[in-house]
């Protein structure tokens, strides 16, 4: 039922393009092929992608593939190399929005709520003046700001999960049915240009 709910939401968004990044249950034990066929056409690797929209650079990362025993989310060397190439040459003033399923900072390691090699990606993003990191996976809102990077995880449209460490496991949180809808939801991100004067940068002539 919740799948059709999501679909209703997605359709009602009235956008020309819908882009996806996979969650851990979208990539089966046999790999990402079925996901890529349906949701990941024109993406790279297991579904990573980037595009520009109204001056904002969007990057979709996949941190749910090829997970290591005892580890958390994983981007992998190939995807990190792609990200490096994707960001190279872009002015540091370009606003960047990154979306990936598992949080890109360690929300709670005991439940695997983090990405082992996220620091490698954050290093590549550190020079940009505005970076917004959008994640899902933990089915609740968590936020953090680190330097120029704002992290935000969204609610789920399926079921809520417990706050870190408040339950024996991260499994679905059972709540009274009248409370359920208040714990499900979607996140809208709006791009608002800052009102601060632009920084002035002097540079010498180069030949």
């Amino acid at each position: 039922m919740w799948l059709s709910l999501i679909w209703t939401k997605v359709k009602s968004a009235k956008v020309g393009r819908v882009l996806y990044v996979p969650g851990e249950h979208d990539i089966t034990a046999d790999g990402a092929n079925l996901y890529l066929e349906r949701y990941g056409k024109d993406t790279k690797g297991d579904g990573w992608q980037s595009f520009d929209h109204k001056g904002v650079h969007f990057v979709g990362l996949v941190n749910v593939a090829d997970l290591k025993p005892g580890g958390m989310g994983n981007l992998g060397a190939e995807q990190l190399r792609w990200l490096e190439r994707d960001l190279a040459g872009r002015p540091s003033s370009t606003p960047i929005v990154v979306f990936a399923h598992i949080p890109m900072w360690t929300v709670y390691a005991d439940w695997g709520w983090g990405t082992d090699d996220a620091a490698e990606a954050l290093k590549l993003l550190a020079r940009f003046g505005s970076v917004t990191m959008l994640n899902g996976h933990i089915h609740q809102i968590a936020q953090k700001v680190e330097g120029h990077i704002a992290f935000h995880t969204a609610r789920s449209t399926a079921f809520p999960q417990p706050a870190p460490g408040t339950a024996p496991s991260p499994g679905p949180l059972k709540v009274p049915s009248e409370q359920l809808h208040s714990m499900l939801g979607i996140t809208d991100a709006m791009f608002v240009r800052g009102k601060e004067r632009i920084a002035l940068i002097d540079s010498t002539l180069t030949i």
């Binding site: 851990e24 249950h25 089966t28 034990a29 749910v64 997970l67 290591k68 025993p69 005892g70 580890g71 958390m72 390691a109 005991d110 439940w111 695997g112 024996p168 496991s169 991260p170 499994g171 679905p172």
Partner: protein, 118 residues
């Protein structure tokens, strides 16, 4: 019914493979020794026994009691279940002695080890 049929088929295939690999197992089977079995249950995003010791030839069945799909995958990929929904099972026969670390490839913080004694 369909699920248990698949299970039996899988065990059959595994036993056949084990028979090729280890004649000792087929000898044991011929001698009428009942095959040894063990169960690891999956619940609360954990495997019920972190470490399970069994004798070589034991078939271990993993049962997903959780509300969330999980997998059972050997660290060295010698075995790999499909995605197990609630109530689904996966069996593997450990023919050789050794330590077999495994994890859930969807939630890799879930780990366990089967210790197989000769």
């Amino acid at each position: 019914m369909i699920r248990s049929f698949r299970m039996l088929t899988f065990q059959g295939v595994t036993l056949a493979a084990a028979a090729f690999a280890m004649s000792a197992i087929t000898f044991e089977a011929r001698a009428g020794v009942p095959p040894q079995t063990a169960v690891v249950r999956i619940g609360n995003f954990t495997f019920s026994q972190q470490t399970l010791a069994v004798r070589a030839g034991t078939t271990v069945t993993f049962v997903n009691d959780d509300d969330i799909p999980h997998t059972v995958v050997a660290k060295d990929l010698t075995f790999k279940s499909k995605v197990l929904d609630t109530g689904d099972k996966f069996s593997f026969t450990f023919a050789k002695a050794g330590q077999f670390a495994y994890f859930c490839s969807l939630h890799p913080h879930m780990t366990g080890t089967i210790v197989v004694k000769a």
